[in-house]
């Protein structure tokens, strides 16, 4: 059997390695048009920033290594320019000397990855205009950044790669301006989480332009900035497009393989395309949302690796199936770690769920052990209590919690299940009840209706629509004087029982404190005094004030 794999970054090499582990008696050939193989695209910002010294650290393995270990024939600078799926044959072109030849396969794997897309604006051909995708891109940006003229840069695109680049260039002393087409950075997060990043970027000296498209790259031969929708010119010694990336489906389309709704190559759980003997894996291939089976495309190295291994198994006759993804993602931006898994509130509503929504502000470990606040936004399905998704922002302990949530969601966890987890507790690592458990408890109370939550946004919406609320601030008068929710009255928790008769138990009531715990205590008191409709404000005054700043 002969296997040809097109592409050798994450998925392609995984296919070959797994196939070889299973069988010695097959021939494995990998073609890549690039000269770099098996590299960590996710490490590129850190190479540009200098945290990674050498390109070799991102791409530690060369064709010789794969030959030795896996008896795999990796041919770089060789582009597959045509596929004949009937004859089971590819046409290869050596990009260095122009030679062309045919090669035949029994099984073909399209691991053709994704490509950066520059927006259709004038000037992108200029010098010092960069994409962020390949090792070649990494090299080019670093060379520019190492030069004496690199004082400022415009980054186009506020997704995680753009934000990581913003951090790394800022660390190098380069002034960064960031332009994002949408009204928020990180469109994968809910707006009431993403604005925290906006604030953090500004605090670190990054100028952020939201809701703005680039009109043109300006400058003579070399870029000197961009113009945006407002007509404003933003100066930058380089322009870095971290904006668009799309699956590279050219060959797949050529052979008539079906393209999925996400624009990536459609595959079944065996990673087979609709064309016999042709597989697809990695960023070129479509994935699906594990809980529902809905098509989903997330170009990430972790998913690419997984798909590649599955394809390698299937090709060699081993039982294996792709089980789908949650779209879990994480990145670092200055002092913050930002992570998400599953659905956001907006996505959940879009898909027709009635979501229970919690903003949970809790330290990752005891304050006496150096704990810092995590902001966890969690979404559950009110119909069955199942966890739908989680977003977390914080300085430490974020990666742990997102992985625990992702694991729980994979196994179909309900909010109530989280309290029962036996997580590892010691002061250097967690609080006695981990923030994951608190999240489950509060969401479960909301789902069951025993202690309902209301988000600042929902409260605003209902007030605007004319509903009257009793809003009770349970903090101290001093805290109340500093900042409070609009229309709130101050009744410190200790006084609530004695003053409860002054309140109207039949008016919808909202309680809140700083971040939620005391608000919940007050909510319970009122509920037990027979108040008919009592909400605890999700995330408390802290979350409310952040939201107010966002919208004002």
């Amino acid at each position: 059997m002969k296997v040809i794999i097109i592409g050798s970054v994450a998925a392609g090499t995984s296919v070959g390695a797994k196939a070889r582990r299973n069988r010695e008696d097959i021939e494995i050939t990998v073609y890549d048009r690039d000269e770099h193989i098996s590299y960590s695209g996710c490490g590129i910002p850190y190479y540009v920033g200098g945290e990674v010294d050498e390109l070799d650290e991102l791409a530690p393995r060369d064709p010789k290594w794969f030959k030795k270990r896996y008896e795999m024939n990796v041919q770089t600078s060789c582009e597959v320019i045509a596929v004949d799926a009937l004859q089971k044959q590819v046409t290869v072109k050596d990009l260095q000397n122009g030679d062309e030849w045919h090669d035949s396969y029994d099984e073909l794997v399209l691991a053709t990855g994704a490509v950066s897309t520059l927006p259709p604006v004038a000037g992108t051909e200029k010098k010092d205009v960069f994409s962020v995708r390949t090792i070649r891109d990494a090299d080019a940006i670093r060379t520019w950044a190492d030069g004496p003229a690199a004082k400022s840069a415009v980054i186009v695109g506020g997704g995680f790669i753009g934000l990581e680049m913003a951090e790394q260039l800022t660390y190098r002393g380069i002034k960064v301006s960031l332009v994002e087409r949408l009204p928020q950075v990180m469109p994968g997060l809910d707006a009431d989480m993403a604005f925290r990043l906006y604030k953090h970027l500004q605090e670190h000296g990054v100028d952020v332009y939201l809701g703005q498209s680039v009109q043109a790259v300006t400058g003579e031969q070399a870029a000197d900035g961009v113009t945006i929708d407002t007509g404003e010119k933003i100066a930058g010694d380089a322009v870095i497009f971290a904006s668009g990336v799309k699956p590279n489906t050219a060959l797949a389309e050529e052979i008539g393989a079906e393209i999925g709704v996400t624009g990536a190559i459609k595959v079944n759980t065996k990673m087979q395309t609709t064309v016999p003997h042709v597989y697809a894996a990695g960023d070129a291939a479509e994935s699906f949302f594990q809980p529902t089976g809905e098509a989903m495309w997330r170009p990430l190295g972790s998913t690419a690796n997984k798909m590649g291994r599955i394809a390698g198994s299937v090709i060699t006759g081993e039982e294996a199936s792709h089980r789908g993804i949650l779209g879990t993602g994480i990145f670092k931006m200055f002092d913050l770690t930002v992570a998400q898994t599953g659905l956001t509130e907006a996505e959940a509503r879009e898909k027709g769920y009635d979501p229970a929504v919690l903003h949970n502000l809790k330290p990752d470990k005891p304050p006496y052990a150096g704990g810092k606040e995590l902001v966890i936004k969690a979404v559950a399905n009110r119909a069955d209590g199942k966890m739908l998704g989680v977003q977390i922002i914080g300085e430490q302990g974020v990666d742990k919690r997102i992985d625990v949530f992702a694991t729980a969601i994979t196994f179909g966890a309900k909010a109530e299940d989280l309290f029962h987890l036996d997580l590892a507790y010691a002061p250097p690592y967690a609080t006695t009840k981990d923030p994951v458990m608190y999240t489950g408890m509060a969401l479960d109370n909301d789902v069951r209706g025993t202690a309902k939550l209301i988000t600042p946004k929902e409260l605003d919406r209902r007030k605007i629509s004319g509903e009257a609320f009793q809003i009770i601030d349970t903090r101290s008068p001093k805290q109340f004087a500093e900042s409070a929710v609009d229309d709130a009255v101050n009744i410190p928790l200790a006084d609530l029982r004695s003053r409860v008769t002054l309140l109207n138990p039949d008016v919808p009531t909202v309680t809140y404190c700083n971040s939620g715990t005391t608000g919940n205590a007050a909510q319970n008191i009122l509920r037990n005094y027979g108040f008919t409709e009592v909400y605890n404000l999700s995330g408390g005054n802290k979350n409310y004030q952040m939201m107010k700043k966002q919208t004002s």
Copy 2:
């Protein structure tokens, strides 16, 4: 309804808080013989070490706080000296003025905790002999350690509290000797993991005496050391017993409540004892192993909190059940984090499982991003592939992985499920395939029999019993010359295919490399060449050499 709770550390206050959240119309009284309430016992070593400045940080809440927030009447320095379960009445003694009175209850909760047990040796009454359990203990040890005479200490007991104390006293410049009765520290870990801690303690200047009991505390009025089994005297300006702790079941026994096989108070999943209207929660109560329901006792704050909340729910008529624990634990010891969940290999064998066992040595994130090696020992049930337990030692990223494993085990995960998790990947946090996924892959291969593992111990055992093995070191000749497995021959992986005919495919064969990956590649090659019985050495040469040092 009137609820009386005996004990106010973690479980007791949780009962009261939850009961009050559910109902306003009940009376809640808590009696505690101590003057400190609601404190973090787990924080005591850090107070002794000075990382926590003030005792108040460990016990931030006083009776006034509980009165205000939860309308809960907490009476400190009041010991319940008798219970009459028929009359539903307790006898309370005020320890400050000696007054005694009766108080009646509708529901009674025994949150009487655990107590330190000093071994029955002479001299424990001497000055500067300490336990590590209560805030009073913490204060006494810190006062001693702050004094000018504190130059050295003997710690008796190599469980996690003993090891945390060893770290904290060492950080203060106090010379520590540690005496452990068993042949290893941390009896909750397998010996082939625990010896790494032994080594680490020695590297940090702690003298460790294993397999030694204390015979007597020496010294005139004040302790000046201990004598051990060998007759040797170990000097120390203080002697700290971190050795034994047992559930405080005195009152439970008095009223005839059943005591479980672990010695703790037997309760059902509603936290009810066998005596009507009497509950138990926290360190005094017995728990059970979640996957099997087997009785288990682990005095930990996290479990105590959980049990307390459940008891509070049940008492107030809310549906709630304890689902059991995994015995998850974690602690920090100098540069290492040590964690475990579920069963060890030894426990699994004892319980009659045929375990698949893996030692997985993997960096927690890419080396270019500062990754450091984790040593993961994982155990699965060969019969159904289900994960039974995991132990992890490493410098960073340990707490994350143990929580992911604990979550997966809670949901009945099989080894094969771990590969499919969509964990968060970015270079600052993880490798493309997380160590959790590698663990699942390798264990699953062993369970399925496609790539079997053998532990160094098992290899030794089989060699001693007379079996012949072909042992193949797949590393470079230079590495082989430095250290190798006994009786191994060196065939670097790149040469294996060409030299395979020199080997006998019918002799049991073991492959290995440094830590496992190349050994697995070699194993696959041989398997594909028709070798009938090929094992990859679990954890490779690194793990083997560590084990050899341990046993020599």
